[in-house]
């Protein structure tokens, strides 16, 4: 009992909340591994090696070799055999049907990451799936980058020449490709013009839109919409991202792979090593935001929230992300973050290279609370990653985040720095509630946001579009 009292004292602050004694407990979701002696000290008592690591974190300079993609059976331990059997059953009727998926890049970006995982699984299920990437000159990709920003609501001057460049490269790719498959899945606006081959094929055409179309540039959307409406169906990542269309629209949440480097289970010793490399003290609560250094992710707001929390709870803040090396604006934001942190040694800022998936995984698993205080967001897969790791997540109520976080049931939603600080404080001082949120969050992720759920959605959609499955007559 005495030991516990000492423990509480070490973490708690001297300031009781609202006249009540503040009972700060060790959060159940982090802490040293079983059997390892606890080290407890305040910032001023940090051993020199922590200070040194914080100044010079050990960041890997070379990408590790990529692991082999998982087989379907590898997911049984995660989703259970009955779920796996249902996937296999749904696939059985589709065996031999062929699929072509087309996007605009083979490496980098979320779409390529998803296809790299999804396509081997479809092939393993004996649904031959071919992935093709459209090609184009710099002028084409300048146009598509402009379209991308315009579809997110940015200003754009859509000229006749720009439309011609877009259509000419789509036509060039259309002529180069063969369209002999049963199903065509065209990802995002760049290759949307391939639909002109529709009349030459007997297959079904699906447009998978990964971007938020809630507030598009009217001219660009008016240009693309007639092409989109020639597809058999469109798929969006959240109901809020859609437009009114004359074709059926389906909801496919983006997904994470629980067996990827970023999400797979890790040895406790590896998590400790990563924390040690970055100077993170696992004996005190760790608040983490993983995001590229971008103002829309509000890293400075997270530091402000942390400072409010720090008045009550002795904790550390980890801001880890990339984008500050190859993006000039990222470097500016990183400097703003460093300035906002000031001389607080408990704010640990890590500019990580793109091959840091395992390290990010370890940081998330070492965290007591995960924050994603975005001001604008796509779906917010870092939130999904936090939920999957059974962590309490505090996140801005923007983009796809409210789909993932049912307030106070699978996480907490916030709208301000003050709200963010309060929710973090509450979670740090109510570990049982934090643990329940984490548990619910993991179930929510398992039910809706894993690649296996996504695979099942594809199989269902293929069956429905090919007329092989009729929706139930229940209603």
């Amino acid at each position: 009992m005495k030991e516990n009292e000492d423990k509480d004292k070490a973490v708690a602050t001297d300031q009781p909340e609202s006249g009540q004694e503040l009972k700060t407990q060790e959060p159940s979701t982090s802490g040293p591994p079983p059997g390892q002696k606890e080290r407890r000290f305040r910032t001023s008592e940090l051993p020199p090696h922590f200070i040194e690591r914080r100044k010079h974190p050990r960041i890997s300079t070379e990408p590790p070799p990529p692991p082999a993609p998982p087989r379907l059976a590898d997911y049984a331990a995660i989703i259970g055999m009955p779920e796996l059997d249902e996937i296999r059953f749904l696939a059985r009727h589709l065996q031999g049907k062929t699929v072509k998926m087309v996007n605009s890049t083979a490496v980098g970006g979320g779409v390529a990451e998803i296809l790299n995982r999804l396509i081997p699984l479809l092939n393993e299920l004996e649904i031959p799936t071919r992935w093709e990437v459209i090609t184009g000159g710099n002028d084409f990709f300048e146009v598509t980058k402009g379209f991308h920003n315009a579809l997110h609501g940015g200003d754009y001057n859509l000229t006749r020449q720009i439309q011609d460049i877009f259509m000419a490269y789509n036509e060039q790719n259309r002529q180069r490709m063969l369209f002999t498959e049963d199903l065509f899945v065209i990802h995002d606006p760049q290759p949307v013009g391939l639909i002109r081959s529709r009349s030459d094929t007997r297959g079904r055409w699906i447009w998978r839109c990964h971007i938020d179309l809630s507030n598009p540039h009217a001219g660009v959307w008016d240009f693309l919409k007639p092409m989109v409406e020639q597809y058999d169906a469109a798929i969006f990542s959240a109901p809020a991202f859609t437009r009114q269309l004359a074709i059926p629209q389906y909801l496919f949440y983006p997904s994470i792979d629980p067996l990827s480097e970023k999400n797979r289970e890790l040895e406790e010793s590896f998590i400790n090593k990563v924390c040690d490399d970055f100077g993170i003290d696992r004996s005190r609560p760790v608040i983490t935001q993983i995001s590229r250094f971008d103002r829309l992710k509000d890293p400075v707001g997270v530091i402000e929230a942390y400072k409010l929390v720090k008045k009550y709870v002795d904790c550390q803040l980890v801001l880890a992300g990339g984008g500050a090396t190859d993006d000039p604006e990222g470097a500016v934001v990183l400097q703003e973050v460093i300035d906002a942190a000031g001389d607080d040694p408990d704010v640990i800022i890590l500019n990580l290279p793109p091959w840091s998936a395992l390290e990010i995984n370890a940081l998330q698993r070492a965290s007591t609370v995960i924050v994603q205080k975005s001001l604008k967001e796509g779906f917010g897969l870092t939130v999904t990653e936090g939920l999957w790791k059974q962590k309490p997540v505090v996140a801005g109520a923007v983009g796809g985040i409210p789909t993932q976080i049912v307030h106070k049931l699978t996480g907490t939603l916030v709208h301000s720095v003050e709200g963010c600080a309060y929710q973090i404080r509450y979670l740090l001082t109510h570990p049982e509630f934090a643990a329940q949120l984490g548990k619910n969050g993991r179930e929510h992720a398992k039910e809706n946001f894993l690649i296996t759920v996504n695979l099942k959605r594809w199989l269902l959609l293929f069956q429905i579009l090919l007329g092989m499955a009729k929706p139930s007559k229940t209603i």
């Binding site: 779920e83 249902e86 059953f89 629209q249 389906y250 049912v406 009729k470 209603i475």
Partner: protein
């Protein structure tokens, strides 16, 4: 000393027709309607397809099967979280889908509750919600499983092995299919094994204060009790 006669081991009671465990997979369709205030929600509920009423009342229970608190359907959750209309949220939340064997009756009840609330609180009708309500619908595809039961032991074994989606399909979704206030499980127990009391006890399991895993455990407890009694 005479030994007591050996009692032959009880042979399981065989069902006249086996129980085939199925499951259901669903795909979400994004509807055309969305509501930015309660008045618009009322209009959407009046006009949306049956599949949408089903999605936001029955299906949402499966999607959030791991939660045993909070509001029990999407309409009540939205009234609370996006409109801050706590009284209406509570009233909507009290709707127990087990009492409804048709979507038309459920829709009527939803409309009545919102209409009468807005009559008493007319300003609430047009007050903008913090975020819109998107009307969705689900396409359900029934998937057979390898599990078949011809007696209680096999039934318990199937219950332990099937996915949570199968429990949902037979125990909750079935009400609309059967047009009765019961489930596939209860019907089979009653009609095939003459276990009327067990069937009735299954129907009393509270799906709102338990997770679907909890529902599975409760069903199993009743079945295991029957096996022990046999």
């Amino acid at each position: 000393m005479a030994t007591a006669p050996q009692i032959p081991a009880t042979r399981p009671r065989w069902a006249r027709s086996p129980f085939y465990f199925n499951s259901a997979s669903h795909l979400l369709r994004i509807g055309r309607e969305k509501a930015a205030c309660l008045q618009e929600l009322l209009e959407a509920i009046r006009t949306c397809p049956d599949a949408s009423i089903f999605q936001h009342t029955f299906q949402t229970l499966e999607e959030h099967h791991f939660i045993k608190e909070g509001f029990s359907n999407d309409f009540s959750h939205w009234a609370f979280a996006a409109c801050n209309e706590v009284e209406l949220a509570e009233r909507l939340s009290a709707i127990d889908i087990r009492e409804f064997t048709s979507i038309a009756a459920l829709r009527e009840r939803l409309v009545h509750l919102i209409e009468s609330y807005l009559q008493k609180n007319p300003r609430s009708g047009t007050r903008p919600a913090m975020e819109p309500f998107y009307v969705m619908a689900a396409d359900l595809v029934v998937v057979p499983t390898p599990y078949v039961a011809r007696n209680l032991e096999e039934f318990a074994d199937g219950l332990r092995k099937v996915s949570i989606h199968s429990i949902y399909y037979h125990f909750i979704d079935a009400r609309l299919r059967l047009k009765l206030n019961t489930s596939d499980f209860s019907v089979w127990l009653e009609q095939e094994l003459d276990l009327h009391q067990a069937a009735e006890r299954l129907n009393r399991i509270d799906i709102y204060t338990s997770t679907l895993e909890g529902v599975r455990r409760s069903i199993l407890k009743i079945i295991e009790g029957e096996i022990a009694r046999a």
